[in-house]
Subunit: 335 residues, 2 copies
């Protein structure tokens, strides 16, 4: 069949079809600019030679790759997995592809990954949160790489996200309205994580507005176990009647720990989550949490980034969060 490993080039196709390379190129990139008859010949030639364009050459000549990069903390967190999934699906098939890199919640590593993706020709970037060195933003601007920030909101840059602080504030309102006054929080690690910080801040401030304070805060790494251990430690203070968690995984871990401690939720203790991922409706009782439209967000981010890459302007999108009252909250005071 094929005598050599070499692939057909534009020139081969042109020769085969008896036209110039320019015409072949046109036929591929803007078919309407070439006569139907020649288009026919070229199409046949392409098929006959099993031609497919060389990526490097195309990128070099056109100065575009059609590659969009995304740097996220980790795909192990369902929140990012879902968002990225939706983001990728919202990208026009064939026009753009998604290059993903994870940084494990490490800002330095994030910077490296961003540089790596840009070096690999990313036409645009999807990033998580706002918290990064100004010089990085300057570099991005200098390199003229458009980007969209997600999973948070702010008053600068382009973003498709939501208000972490407000979401938590709403949850605190619910807990307070229930009558709770002795409230503690299990937060994700806040170092280099503005989403976690905003959620913690949302709790602190809402409480302060009512003249209250947190009865305890545990800052733990993402994971079921982190949530469980934090719960056990926090509950040394048995006067606590409600524990709000920075995310659903932490909450699920806390719930499991509560169960192991022989506590009945929500009779003995109220536990709340944040994100409303799948596990929130698998726990028993199901988790009261803050719903975040992760998929919708990924989709909006994809749309925005495309516009930016194609030189159009694009407004930021602030998505609403919503309290989902399920089974892990109740007034304090046991039965």
């Amino acid at each position: 069949m094929d005598e050599t490993t070499a692939h057909a080039t534009l020139e081969d196709v042109a020769a085969f079809a008896g036209v110039s390379t320019a015409t072949v190129s046109r036929c591929i990139n803007s078919p309407d600019r070439v006569a139907p008859a020649t288009r026919e010949k070229i199409t046949n030639a392409i098929r006959a030679l099993n031609y497919s364009p060389n990526f490097g050459a195309k990128a070099l000549a056109s100065r575009r790759t059609g590659i969009i990069g995304a740097v996220i903390p980790t795909l192990e967190n369902a929140v990012f997995a879902h968002g990225i999934d939706a983001f990728e699906r919202a990208l026009p098939q064939g026009k753009y592809s998604l290059l993903v890199a994870s940084c494990g919640y490490d800002l330095n590593r994030e910077k490296q990954q961003i540089e790596s993706l840009v070096a690999r020709g990313a036409d645009g970037l999807l990033l998580v949160g706002f918290d990064r060195d100004p010089s990085l933003y300057a570099w991005l601007a200098h390199r003229r790489v458009p980007f969209v920030l997600a999973w948070a909101s702010g008053d600068s840059h382009h973003f498709a996200g939501f208000d972490n602080k407000a979401g938590m504030a709403a949850m605190i309102r619910l807990v307070l309205d229930l009558g709770h006054r002795k409230i503690a929080m299990i937060s994700g690690l806040t170092d280099g994580n503005d989403r976690a910080r905003a959620r913690l801040e949302g709790v602190r401030q809402s409480l302060a507005d009512r003249g209250l304070g947190l009865c305890g805060v545990a800052e733990v790494p993402y994971g079921l176990d982190g949530g469980g251990q934090a719960f056990t430690e926090l509950m040394v203070d048995r006067s606590i009647t409600a524990i709000v968690c920075g995310n659903d995984v932490l909450a699920a871990g806390a719930l499991r720990a509560a169960h192991h401690m022989g506590l009945v939720v929500p009779r003995d203790i109220t536990i709340t989550g944040f994100d409303d991922i799948d596990i929130a409706s698998i726990t028993l009782p199901e988790l009261t949490t803050v719903r975040v439209p992760h998929a919708r967000m990924g989709q909006e981010a994809a749309l925005m980034l495309q516009r930016l890459i194609e030189g159009q302007e694009s407004e930021s999108v602030l998505l609403p969060t919503e309290i989902v009252e399920r089974g892990t909250h109740a007034p304090p005071g046991g039965r």
Copy 2:
């Protein structure tokens, strides 16, 4: 600062450092082949001009992109999210980047995505399962694109996976040993999904080996609700004492449905899962399931693919699965 939008090129750096472009190129790609003194000058020039190589040009000239492609059904399935996460992290930072595409369990779409990734210059591919048109394999071979198959095992191609059928067979053995004889299965959609088919086949054959048959099979789409509905339908036959599920999500859905039906697990019914993802230890009772080393698999796949891309041979890796006995299994017969 910068008067124009143009970026520094190799030539600019060469001029600035007073050497030739060839030397600069060498300095970047094999620093040890250039004298320390000139290396110094070049390094300074690079920094001074804020130079970074043009991806397209590099790819064109070197015939390599450093991009690895992966096509998976969806990142919404934690199994793939974790595997891909591990895969990506096992890739040498800076040397390779990961291009991900999802196909939603659709073989046609998978083919398109594969072609798209190859068109984008992927040096190698990570694919899920073995089940695809022979012509696609032929095309991949012709294009000389190395690939590794995961989440399954077989006797052809390079793979880093596990034996779905054997995993299920082991689970059936456990259920049978417990004394169950009226067994039903909730399977994922088997169309175009050899992993789901292998799991179903594992159940069927193990049962047949003991002269038994399935008391019911429901084939449902991935998701909590699918598992729940299937459970409800299957349990119309109250003689059933055990339901094995094709994956943990289906099992979690079944468990929830059982709870809503007022059934006590495992007293009234045994329910088992497959994969051992996080939710398996969040349900109440925790799920008895088949553990699959998804992260380890992703890691092995990354190592294999790198070797293949770099022209070395590489043995396939068959990872072991393991039964995890937790709380959803018990002998039949209620209390």
